[in-house]
Symmetry: C2
Subunit: 219 residues, 2 copies
């Protein structure tokens, strides 16, 4: 499958814009765990995921993390090209959560096309609005949901992504997704285990009772 | 002062677009405390503030609030027209924090111009990116800053907006800005008072020692 099949507004580009995009495109393949973009590095460019999974997160001064969104096949990442817009005044870090193949559209090329093309600018607007919705959802979670519900939701989400009840996840990794400390997650998972919802073993959380987790999430 | 002096890309509209905008414009003047838009109401339209102050916040199911951004003279609000973009999947409530004059650009008119105009679409992108930056800042505050620092920052911000050290603010109002409970704010302000940073009286917080508050904020 080619780039044009993944980029939803390809047909709305002019011949010249298609040409400029094709010429600038970079293809990359990275292993799970690779840091693709971090706030302090140069403006990487826009990322379009061909296959795999990326995680965008922010870091505190003390090194704490919280996931702000995840990207899957066909998703596009704007904030790895934050220099594209003067009003983007925050930094995200992006790492591969699985082996991932993606294209990079260099910032300058995308920016110049966006400035002249209403369809590209409107597409960019929709992308940003989708991420904005993710982040607003996150604020609601942090503000109004207790941590037990957030952990339950996260385990159910992971299980749905992995299509498995056996999740290879350290307590540290869960803490980094949810913006809390490992010790807090360990305590919560032990409570889940005592309630028969999960079974814990080294580096693995196995979901035993999905209904009970769903109930907890929705109470 | 006319609308065209407040709308920064007026000169980039075509004659027809200017005409459609002018014809649709609604001018409104509301008193402090007026609810201008709430998530469940219809798609109000884009708001451009002529003078005054608006607050955008979200509400929990239990009625708790947290301020996500504020708008001042010449600021434009997109999310009161959230039906404009399919990817905006959250609701904000907007109320006047002071007597406020503003224009409403009806959603359909703005949307149709944005779809055909690269400058308008790019301007909208910058607006959304600016709000996105506000919200990312908020997440960092909620996640990594303790409440004493957030209260100190809020009092200093208010003092700067009002150009006064005497702030007419109930503890309830501060709690609603910061997404916490009134009792928590009361306890914190009493601590600030015992440290000589503020003086409390009915409905008023007076800043006595700005340097100490700034120090607390930055520690």
């Amino acid at each position: 499958m080619k780039f044009e099949n993944y980029f939803p507004i390809w047909n709305q580009l002019t011949a010249d814009q298609k040409n400029r995009t094709q010429k600038g495109l970079i293809t990359r393949k990275v292993e799970k765990g690779t840091l693709i973009h971090n706030g302090n590095m140069d403006c990487t460019g826009l990322l379009l995921v061909k296959s795999g999974q990326l995680r965008a997160y922010i870091l505190s001064d003390e090194g704490r993390e919280i996931t702000i969104y995840r990207l899957f096949d066909r998703d596009m990442c704007l904030f790895s090209a934050s220099c594209m817009m003067r009003s983007i005044q925050f930094d995200v870090t992006i790492e591969a959560e699985k082996d991932t193949e993606f294209w990079i559209i260099p910032t300058e090329i995308y920016k110049s096309i966006m400035e002249e093309s209403a369809p590209v600018a409107n597409y960019t607007n929709e992308l940003m609005a989708a991420r904005f919705s993710d982040v607003m959802w996150l604020i609601e979670q942090i503000m109004w949901k207790s941590l037990d519900k957030r952990v339950a939701s996260f385990l159910l989400e992971e299980s749905s992504i992995e299509e498995s009840d056996k999740l290879k996840l350290t307590h540290e990794a869960i803490a980094n997704h949810l913006g809390t400390h490992r010790e807090v997650i360990t305590r919560m998972l032990r409570y889940f285990q005592s309630e028969g919802m999960v079974k814990l073993s080294r580096g693995t959380v196995t979901i035993l009772n999905k209904e009970k987790l769903e109930h907890l999430q929705n109470v």
